[in-house]
């Protein structure tokens, strides 16, 4: 019995430790590389951008691509390339904040539900069910209609709307993990529920949580870009990919699709990277 428990604990440990070197396949690795590049781009944006993203040059609207403007200029002569690079900041920061909120609220809730069971579990599950009934972007619009447009309202609302997915999956995994003999062994040794959760359950669930957070990042990014497109999220003239699509729509109808298409391409690349990375992690965790 003890040996079996020990082996189980070690297996669980190894799983947690093995995570950084996980075999993700080339798609997963490529996604990870893209994510790192995007993060570097956002962090060092002001250094990389060749021009001031907000400097207006009304004499040269819709300038074609040249050595000075790598991707041309928009309707007010701003450098599209620089705006795309600076735009990575709000476009990535928004989903990052949402996902962090999701994890900070969703994981403790899921662990509490799985650990206590009974009434606590029932209550938490009902609340999650009701939140599930709200499509994310609709809840965000409702909140924004009351608290005003902006990134802050959008982030909080989307965190509330997307958290139930993470919580439900984490709860299911935590329930399975809790039934493993090593947890019982630790309980018998007198460790507190909090300690067992923090020291053993969370590390063992971490690959799953990271994977889900990564997938969620992609979906949140789509929702946030949609909100910014509607004028309810990030506000112009801030450089943001969703805002750029929206701002470029008039130009698109006038025959200058560059701004919208490039900003759209950046969103697709980022969403692809995060969802594919998350999916590969989920697959190899199984």
């Amino acid at each position: 019995m003890t040996e079996a428990v020990l082996a189980q604990t070690q297996r669980a440990r190894r799983r947690a430790i093995g995570f950084p070197a996980a075999r993700l396949g080339w798609v997963g690795m490529a996604s990870a590389v893209v994510i790192v590049l995007l993060a570097l781009m956002a962090v060092f944006a002001p250094l990389i951008a060749p021009m001031d993203p907000n400097s207006i040059d009304l004499l040269h609207p819709f300038a074609p691509a040249s050595s000075q403007h790598l991707l041309g200029t928009d309707d007010t002569g701003r450098d599209i390339f620089s705006r795309l690079i600076l735009g990575s900041r709000t476009s990535l920061l928004g989903p990052l904040l949402v996902v962090l909120l999701e994890v900070l609220v969703g994981v403790p809730i899921a662990l509490a539900a799985a650990w206590r069971g009974g009434l606590v579990d029932g209550l938490i599950s009902r609340v999650l069910d009701v939140l599930f009934a709200f499509p994310g972007i609709l809840l965000a619009i409702l909140v924004i209609s009351l608290f005003g447009a902006g990134l802050k309202s959008a982030v909080v609302a989307l965190a509330v709307a997307h958290m139930p997915y993470l919580a439900r999956i984490t709860r299911g995994a935590a329930l399975r993990e809790r039934r493993l003999p090593y947890v019982e062994a630790l309980e018998v040794q007198g460790f507190s529920a909090f300690r067992i959760s923090a020291r053993h359950l969370v590390p063992n669930l971490l690959p799953l949580i990271v994977a889900q957070a990564s997938v969620s990042f992609g979906y949140v990014m789509i929702d946030l870009a949609g909100l910014s497109f509607l004028g309810l999220g990030v506000q112009p003239p801030t450089a943001d990919w969703g805002v750029m699509i929206s701002a470029g729509q008039q130009a698109l109808l006038g025959g200058h699709p560059q701004q919208s298409l490039y900003a759209g391409a950046m969103i697709v690349i980022a969403v692809c990277a995060f969802t594919l990375f998350g999916e590969r992690l989920i697959d190899q965790d199984r």
């Binding site: 069910d129 009701v130 009934a133 709200f134 499509p135 994310g136 972007i137 609709l138 619009i141 409702l142 909140v143 924004i144 209609s145 009351l146 608290f147 299911g172 329930l175 992609g218 789509i222 870009a225 949609g226 497109f229 509607l230 004028g231 309810l232 969703g242 699509i245 929206s246 470029g248 729509q249 698109l252 109808l253 025959g255 699709p257 919208s260 298409l261 759209g264 391409a265 969103i267 697709v268 969403v271 692809c272 969802t275 594919l276």
Partner: protein
Amino acid sequence: MARRLGALAGTLLATSFIVYGAVYLAPGSPLTAVTGGRPLPPATLHAISHEYGFDKPFIVRYWDWLTGAIHGDFGRSVVFRQDVSSLITPRIGTTAFLIAYAALLILLFGVALGLVSALHKGHPDTAILTVTSVGTAVPSIVAAIVLIWIFTLQLGWLPALGSGSGFAGQLRHLTMPAVALALSGIAYVARLTRAAANEELRREHVATARSRGIPERYVVQRHVLRNALVPITTAAGLTIAGLIAGTVVVENAFALNGLGSFLVQAVGQKDVPVVQAICLILVAAFIVVNTVVDLLYAVIDPRIGFGGGDDR
């Protein structure tokens, strides 16, 4: 069955409470939320206050609003000074048409692409898998921009803006919006159909059927598709329910005169009764579609009973 419908009623009640009660979480008094802080003469303020029943307790007001909503009465628009229902009714058609069109595209192309992918290994499978992997990551606004660029500006085939009139006009005007709305759903359903069909193809009953010389068409129809139908229905159903919220973005991208674009307009004008009404309608539709999908399982797979609780 009764349990499912009970849960449906409970969820509807809870969400309607959130939609209505959210106004009272907003900073400032509910009266300012309704008037949007516009400076109005005291007599008007008093009249509005009385009309919305702010002199009555919250729970009574909520109940009045809810019972009114069930009978199709959502109060009066602050901006248009008209009944909300009379403003909303003409716009429901466009939104419903758009959702139905996109749902049809998802069911047709999603399932077809997934089956082709599963049954034709090699190049077709790889191509479809690659396209659908990227496709799920394409937001509807990006799809909208690319479609307008190709089909309106380059080819000049389809109009970029407006809802059109008559069935043929609507079909023409709503084709690009429906494709933009359905695109990621088609990709998602195709991937799930492929996975579900592959799983069935690996099973012994399919190998047995093939070894008995049953024609491939029947093997696919009776053994693969029939068994893969439960996961496919789940994926398609949830995706179609998701379209309901997606219309808000797409209607704005194509300047359609539907509920979604009216919702965003009402948010901009701080027309709270309109926002509440449209949110309630869209959320209720979302919940009802989800429940219908749940009920469909039992029709497709008789082994699944109603109301069985699982702990996942």
